[in-house]
Amino acid sequence: MSATAVTTRRPAAPRRARSYVVSDTLAMTWRNLLKYRRVPTLLVFSTIQPVMFVLLFAFVFGGAIVIPGVDYKNYLMPGIFVQTVVFGASQTGVALAEDLTRGMIDRFRSLPMARSAVLGGRTIGDSVRNLFVVLLMTAVGYAIGFRFQNGFANAVLAILITVAFGFAFSWISANIGLRIRDVESAQAASFIWIFPLVFASSAFVPIATMPGWLQPIAKVNPITITVNAVRSLTLGQLPAPVAKFVGLQGSTFTHVWQALAWIAGLLLVFVPLAIRGYRRAV
């Protein structure tokens, strides 16, 4: 009250919060991943769904889907990988909506932490989870007869592209979660856009078998582009007519490059949007 009262002031902002971006992001990633260690059933259930898709397509629909010259299981698994990470990425928005409604985001926003770490830790954590599930799906694939045909390096690249694509989709999902701000709505909302996107793609069936009006849409679908890149890295050399039928004409390099361009493009658009959404999420 009196004008002479002097508080002990801290030295002016010793280090900018932004210089802690790496350690803060790691701390948040740790926090987000701990969930899977503490609640293993979460991981079990996020694994069961893709396993069911593998079984469904490999053994129920697979008999009806004939791709001459390619074992359908080898065709299917890259689609399953990408579907797995895309479905997994939808959890990013759900988790953010949960943090928002529980006041966690308020707490984080009141801390001197790097603000990017909340979103970064979430999307990276979800990508680590995705990597784990994709490796598990690889094992499931191997159990039913899937094989990487182009050697170890290409297999690693295929998995990295898959996970990177999931990372990009996590940022789309983050936008949804931050704007919808309700856990159940975020859950429902992610299903609405992810489901048609996954099925109107080359993930499970060749685009050539789809109706004429759908083909142009399916061809430019980023999921198609990514699945094709992963297939190109895992399927081995295909005879020209087969490659044309499954949409894999052209070099592996071209497919990979296109997938990477999509990933970069999605990140360029949705990272800044998510950051805006985070700043405004009050």
């Binding site: 009250m1 009196s2 004008a3 002479t4 009262a5 002097v6 508080t7 002990t8 002031r9 801290r10 002016a12 902002a13 010793p14 280090r15 900018r16 919060a17 932004r18 802690y20 971006v21 350690s23 803060d24 701390a27 740790w30 926090r31 701990l34 969930k35 503490r38 609640v39 529980r102 006041g103 966690m104 308020d106 707490r107 984080f108 926003r109 009141s110 801390l111 001197p112 932490m113 790097a114 603000r115 990017s116 770490a117 970064g120 704007r179 990272v271 800044p272 950051i275 805006r276 700043r279 405004r280 009050v282």
Partner: protein, 358 residues
């Protein structure tokens, strides 16, 4: 990933100069305004809180308490006005400000999946404090809030009161200069409430400044050196607890006039004894009793009995927030919940200006 421009705040020369020339207030607000769509949450708030004191922001739901706290803790930006906490401007020096404050909001913002200790460790890491110092501080906090035994259990297994205590512990990990507590004892059992009051007193004796919002006059009375009563986004009274009580006049004598037709008669008899408030619809009457309640009680009974007015539910009681409000505003302490107001305004805020950080 390149570092995105999350926060363009810079430690300006002006800010350092202001701190150097600072007049010593730990919290300073001038003309703070904030609207959510059409809802005017803050309508020009001035605050001035001296260091190492407790300032109580007293008001009903929807009065603007939470909005004020959110602006002072950089979660929201004001539409107009300015504010400083610990010498840092809430907009220009937001980053430095955050390192100097602790916040416990209305929710228990703790992660269910982490253990109690892990929750505090996470916050400690995000304050960027040295590991050893944080560990000792956390041990101390767990002890203070009686969570040592539960420290290694996940928060999921905690009771509501334990979560609340852990949340308060989290707000103290950074050893804040200024602590913001938004309705800190809501949902606490009486014993935990007393425990928290002790912790707050201890912190203040160590030099921490505390701003707390509350709906309970008693709480503000026990803790706060100064109290501001807030209603409809405005501060309608400010002073010490004694000064505020002077508005109400100490204890209150309450009764009901059994026959509403007799209200005018009763009012006429009571005017000589003070300024009675009688609700014409219910017959409920209240009379400030000052220091000597029992004498007044006898006098009222005698006078009304002589006048033939029948009364029921006669009681002497301590003033509540409602009474302060009635005395100050003439209306009861109730209103739209602040969250509802914020949610109603979110759509508009998102389309238009929003609370964007600059």
């Amino acid at each position: 990933m390149a570092q995105p421009p999350f926060d363009a705040t810079t430690e300006t020369q002006a800010a350092s100069a202001r701190r150097a020339a600072g007049d010593g207030a730990a919290i300073l607000a001038e003309g703070l305004e904030k609207s959510f769509g059409k809802v005017r949450a803050l309508d020009g708030i001035d605050l001035r809180v001296a260091p190492a004191t407790v300032f109580g922001l007293l008001g009903p739901n929807g009065a603007g308490k939470t909005t004020a706290v959110r602006i002072l803790t950089t979660l929201l930006q004001p539409d107009a006005g300015r504010a400083e906490v610990a010498g840092y401007d809430v907009i220009r020096d937001a980053e430095a400000l955050r390192a100097a404050i602790g916040l416990a909001g209305q929710f228990a913002a703790v992660d269910e999946v982490l253990t109690g200790r892990e929750n505090l460790e996470l916050v400690g890491r995000l304050y960027h404090l040295p590991g050893e110092e944080v560990r000792r501080c956390i041990d101390d906090l767990l002890e203070r809030f009686e969570l040592t035994a539960a420290a290694h259990r996940t928060v999921k297994t905690y009771s509501g009161g334990m979560r609340r205590r852990l949340d308060l512990g989290a707000s103290l990990v950074g050893r804040p200069e200024v602590l913001f507590l938004d309705e800190p004892t809501t949902g606490l059992d009486p014993r935990s409430r007393l425990g928290l009051w002790d912790v707050i007193k201890e912190l203040v004796s160590e030099g921490t400044t505390v701003l707390l919002t509350t709906q309970y006059l008693e709480e503000a009375d026990v803790l706060a050196d100064r109290i501001a009563v807030i209603d409809g986004g405005r501060i309608i009274a400010e002073g010490t607890s004694d000064e505020l009580k002077a508005h109400v006049g100490g204890e209150l004598l309450e009764f009901r006039v059994a026959d509403r037709d007799q209200i005018p008669v009763a009012a006429g008899e009571l005017v000589a004894l003070g300024s009675p408030q009688i609700d014409n619809a219910t017959g409920r009457a209240a009379l400030p009793a000052g220091e000597d309640g029992s004498t007044l009680l006898l006098e009222v009974v005698r006078r009304l009995d002589t006048a033939g007015v029948k009364i029921t539910d006669l009681a002497l009681r301590r003033p509540t927030l409602d009474d302060v409000f009635l005395a100050l505003t003439g209306h009861a302490a109730e209103g739209q919940s602040e969250e509802e107001a914020e949610l109603a305004g979110v759509g508009a805020a998102r389309d238009g200006h929003g609370g964007e950080q600059t």
